[in-house]
Every structure is written in C-alpha cells, then in structure tokens.
C-alpha cells in the first residue's frame, strides 16, 4: 500500500540527493566518479561566505520555527472550539506559494512600499534587513497555519473529552494543558516543526526576495556560486546544499533525542 508513495519519494528525493552527491565529488573539469575529488567540498568549507550563509540560515530557521510553533500552539488552542469556517480561514495561507507571499511582502514592506504609503514610514525595515526579519516574518506567516492544521487534527472531540475527564478529577486549566493537551500535541508539533525547519533551512526563494544582500542564505549561496563560477560552481552548490541537508538531519536527530530524554517524569 505504501509502495507508490515510498517509490515516488525515493525516486524524486533519493535520486536528487544521489545526483548532488555525484556532482559534489565530480572534478570541476569533468570526468566520472572514478576520478572523484574533494575540491568542491574544500572550496565550500574554506569559503567565509558559506560559513556566514550557514549561520544566517540556521538563525532564521530557528527563530522562524520556534515563533511559528509557539504561535501555532496558541492559535490552535484558541481555535479548536471555533466553527469549521473560522478554522478554515486560519488555514488560508497554506496553499499560497511562498514566492507570492515574499513578493507581496516586498510590495508592502519595502522602503517606499504600500505600507509606507498607507501608514507612513515603518519603524522597522523588514525587507533586506541584516537580521533577516523579513525572511522570518514571511515564514512565520506561511508555516504557522500549516502547524495549526496539524495541531487541530489531533485536537478533536477525543481530546476535548479527555480534558473534561481531567477537569472533573480536580485538574485546573494549566494542569490540563500540561498533562492532557501537551502530551497529545507534542509529537505532531515536533514533527511539523522539524519539517518546517528543514524546509526553511534550505529554501532560497524567500531569502532571495526579502533577505539581506549579505549574508546570503544557504540556498541563495548555492545559486550565487553556480552563477559566478561556471566551471566548479555546480559542484560547490551541491556540496553546500548537502552540508545543509546533513545539518538538518543532525539537528532533527538531536531534537528527537532531547525530546525523548526530557519527557515529563510524571508521564513515565
């Protein structure tokens, strides 16, 4: 039953990953894997721009993911008893492509943009700012509803009934949040946050549209090296993105480990 989904995933993502690995070890002037070289990896790891891009991506990813997760938990808790229409309205940004949101953000938030004209000069410069606030803002706008949807899926009637059970056994609002709601939502929240983090860490269209000129994100770094170095750029881009993928996987494993180690002692 799972074969079609697994097959598609392996073909699309596994194939792309294998292609990137091959590209990163291919000599800049051509040749097969029998003449493989670490040149692209050496160049990327020795490039201070890559290091800056890595930290910029990591920082914006962490901030965007944590803010989205916190907001999603709050919104889902408030929305779970609301009407289906209101819950659908919250999910509105999910199908809108990231690039469109980024373009709208530029139109509205760039210096001299629509927001400046309507509201006067904005106190913060959110487009092309050094800290990447615009990037974070776009991802929070896009990813929070996605996480809200995941959380609302587990906050059904069953959870409501369990909360009622806890209430009639003397457990107050915070206790119910801690012992009933949190254990039910933490797994989908964690998995959803990991998906969001992996996506944000390697995405390039939003940083390209609203991110600072420097540092680039990992995605925009890969794009730039491909454009600036016609001979070895593709190998370096592949190496940079593979490092990003390895970092994402390592980060996800570390979070999972931490999550297991820090399980509420009262729940064991």
């Amino acid at each position: 039953m799972l074969a079609p989904a697994v097959g598609t995933t392996l073909l699309l993502f596994g194939g792309a990953l294998a292609g990137a690995v091959e590209q990163s070890f291919t000599p800049p002037l051509g040749g097969g894997l029998e003449t493989w070289t670490l040149e692209s990896w050496r160049q990327v790891l020795g490039d201070p721009v890559f290091v800056d891009a890595f930290w910029f991506s990591l920082r914006t990813t962490l901030v965007a993911t944590l803010v989205s997760a916190g907001l999603a938990l709050l919104i889902a808790t408030l929305m779970r008893t609301r009407s289906a229409a209101m819950r659908t309205a919250v999910a509105f940004p999910v199908p809108v492509p990231h690039l469109i949101v980024a373009v709208v953000a530029v139109l509205w938030l760039a210096p001299g943009g629509l927001a400046d004209r309507v509201l006067g000069t904005l106190p913060l410069n959110l487009v092309r700012d050094q800290l990447g606030l615009g990037v974070v803002l776009v991802y929070v706008f896009k990813e929070t509803p996605f996480l809200v949807l995941l959380l609302l899926a587990v906050m059904g009637r069953r959870l409501e009934e369990q909360e009622e059970m806890a209430a009639v056994h003397g457990i107050g609002r915070w206790g119910r949040l801690r012992w009933v709601i949190w254990p039910a939502v933490r797994a989908p929240l964690l998995i959803g946050s990991m998906i969001v983090a992996a996506f944000v860490f390697s995405a390039f269209e939003v940083p390209l549209a609203v991110g600072p000129n420097y540092p680039p994100s990992l995605g925009t770094y890969a794009l730039e090296v491909t454009k600036s170095d016609a001979i070895g750029g593709a190998g370096q881009a592949a190496a940079a993105l593979l490092l990003g993928a390895v970092a994402s996987i390592a980060f996800a494993l570390a979070i999972l480990g931490l999550f297991k180690a820090r399980r509420e002692p009262d729940e064991r």
């Binding site: 806890a166 209430a167 009639v168 056994h169 009262d266």
Partner: protein, 305 residues
C-alpha cells in the same frame, strides 16, 4: 439513580452538576455549599463517563492517580495509593501496564478507581455499564455497589435501563423531556406509577376504560376491579397478567416471543391489547385463545392528573 429514555436530559443533568455545562437558571448545592458558580475542577464531583476516557500516554497507575497529580502528591505516594485502588477494582495484576489491550470492562474499572481516587463529595456515574460486555455487567455493577457502600460516597447514576436502575438505585428519579416525572423507591415506580408515561417507561400495561358496577369495561372484554365508577386508567405489570382456564375474558395470542427467561405474549380482544410474560413451558402458541385474569393485587389505578 436517574432513569429515562434517550434524549431525556440525563447526561446533561450530570454535566450540569459536574460543571461541564453552564446552567441557564437555578442553582446547585452540594453538602451545604453552592457549587454552580465553581469551575468543574473545584466542585469535587468526580464523573465516570459512558466511555472510560483513559489517557494513553500514562500507565494504569498514573491514570488512576491523575487527581493526586493536580494536588502535588509525590509520585511514589500517588502510585501507591493508585495501586490500592486498582487492587480494589480487581485489576491488581495489571497495575503497572499501559492502557492498550484492556477490555471495555477493565477500562471502566480503571475509570471507577480513578474517580474514587479523587475522593469526591459526589460520585456521578453516566451509564457506566453501557459500553461493557453484557456478561461482565453484573460483576461491574456488583463492584460499584460494593465500593459505594464501603465508602459511603453519595452517588448519582444515570441509565436508560430500568432493570439496571432498579438493581442499583435506592431511590430512582424518572426523567423525561428534562423533567422529573416521579421520584421514589424502585418498587413504587415499578408498581405504582403516577402517570401513564411513567407506567409505560417502566414496562407496564396501560389500560384505559370505564369502571362501572365493579368492572373495568374495555372494548372487547371486561375485568373485575374495585374503586369508584367513571373513566379510569389502570396499569399492570406483564408478569402479573395471569392466563388460566375457566373464568375471565377470552383474548387471542397475537404474538409469542421467546426471550430466554420468559415468553412475551401479546394478547388481543377487540381493540384492547395486553402484554403478558409467562414461563417458557407455559406459553400458548400464537393464534390460541386464552382466558385472562388481571389480579387486583397487581392492578394499579393511575391517579387522575
């Protein structure tokens, strides 16, 4: 014990008492204190719901001791107290395991232990036997009655099953359409209902006719009765309706259904229909004509409204 048909408002009543529903009007007092303005967790009313509502991420001991968690009782004490209660509900050997794999009856026992662990001022049971295998109902009912009697905890239980109500309740309130129609001891409700609806709910025959000259005259037959002349409504339990040869009006058996412990007969004469329960060996076949006797001891004249 509150008994009534589906949709009568039984569960709503329990939810209102426990604080899960807000009152539109009126007040609720418990042991001299007004509780209707308190949130559910401060009312000290524990509920055993129709479905056990156990938390899958906790083992049985932590499920039972969940009320102690809120009170900040240390884990060791909490689990030890929970273990005592798990033992009392007959699941001692399962104490350390998780919720998965427990039968409906076992889960409901855990829910009962959880409610008792909260040491409530009032224990509310919302059809606690409805999700339990019929063969295990009797033992769970026995356990509930035993624990309730040992602990002397005031209990309000609701059910749609009149037999269960009679077995469990010392006092029964009949709730229909959100109103208490009658409230009394089980025997009174089952034999001396105050209204036709109450009589029908408790499974009695309701017979309307005219009393005159010591007889209740019905369409197609008449039965000897005492009491003043005039229009009257009588009720009689199907078990009290006797079939015998000799005297008494003749009725035809139009339906005969074997139910294990007894046979249910539907008897007809003209427009008058009466239900009778007889022992399996004594049941006439469908279509047979029988003489019917309604003994005065079982016949109850429903008071005029």
């Amino acid at each position: 014990m509150v008994v009534g048909p589906s949709g009568a408002g039984k569960t709503t009543l329990l939810r209102a008492i426990s604080g899960l529903e807000t009152l539109d009007s009126g007040r609720i007092d418990l042991g001299g204190r007004r509780i209707d303005r308190l949130p559910a967790h401060k009312r000290r009313c524990a509920v055993v719901f129709q479905e056990p509502r156990l938390l899958n991420h906790l083992d049985l001991l932590d499920n039972v001791g969940i009320s102690l968690l809120a009170r900040g009782v240390p884990r060791k004490d909490r689990r030890s107290r929970a273990a005592e209660l798990i033992d009392q509900v007959g699941l001692g050997e399962l104490a350390g395991r998780g919720v998965k794999g427990l039968s409906g009856g076992e889960q409901q026992r855990v829910a009962l232990a959880r409610a008792l662990c909260a040491e409530p001022d009032l224990l509310l049971l919302d059809e606690p036997l409805s999700a339990v295998d019929p063969n295990r109902r009797a033992s769970l009912m026995e356990l509930i009655l035993e624990l309730q009697s040992d602990r002397q905890v005031t209990t309000v239980s609701v059910t749609h099953d009149r037999a269960e109500a009679a077995e469990m309740g010392q006092h029964i309130a009949l709730l229909i359409d959100g109103k208490v129609l009658q409230s009394a001891e089980p025997a009174v409700l089952f034999e001396r209902p105050e209204t036709e609806r109450a009589a029908r709910f408790f499974g009695m025959n309701v017979i309307s006719g005219k009393v005159g000259g010591g007889h209740l005259r019905l369409e197609g037959c008449e039965f000897p009765v005492s009491g003043p002349d005039g229009e009257a409504v009588f009720s009689i339990r199907p078990e009290s309706v006797l079939l015998r040869s000799g005297a008494g009006p003749e009725m035809t058996v139009v339906e005969s259904v074997y139910l294990g412990s007894h046979v249910r007969l539907r008897l007809r004469a003209g427009q008058t229909e009466i239900e009778s329960h007889v022992r399996p060996g004594e049941a006439p076949a469908s279509g047979e004509k029988v003489r019917v006797c309604l003994p005065e001891s079982g016949l109850w004249r429903i008071p005029e409204p």
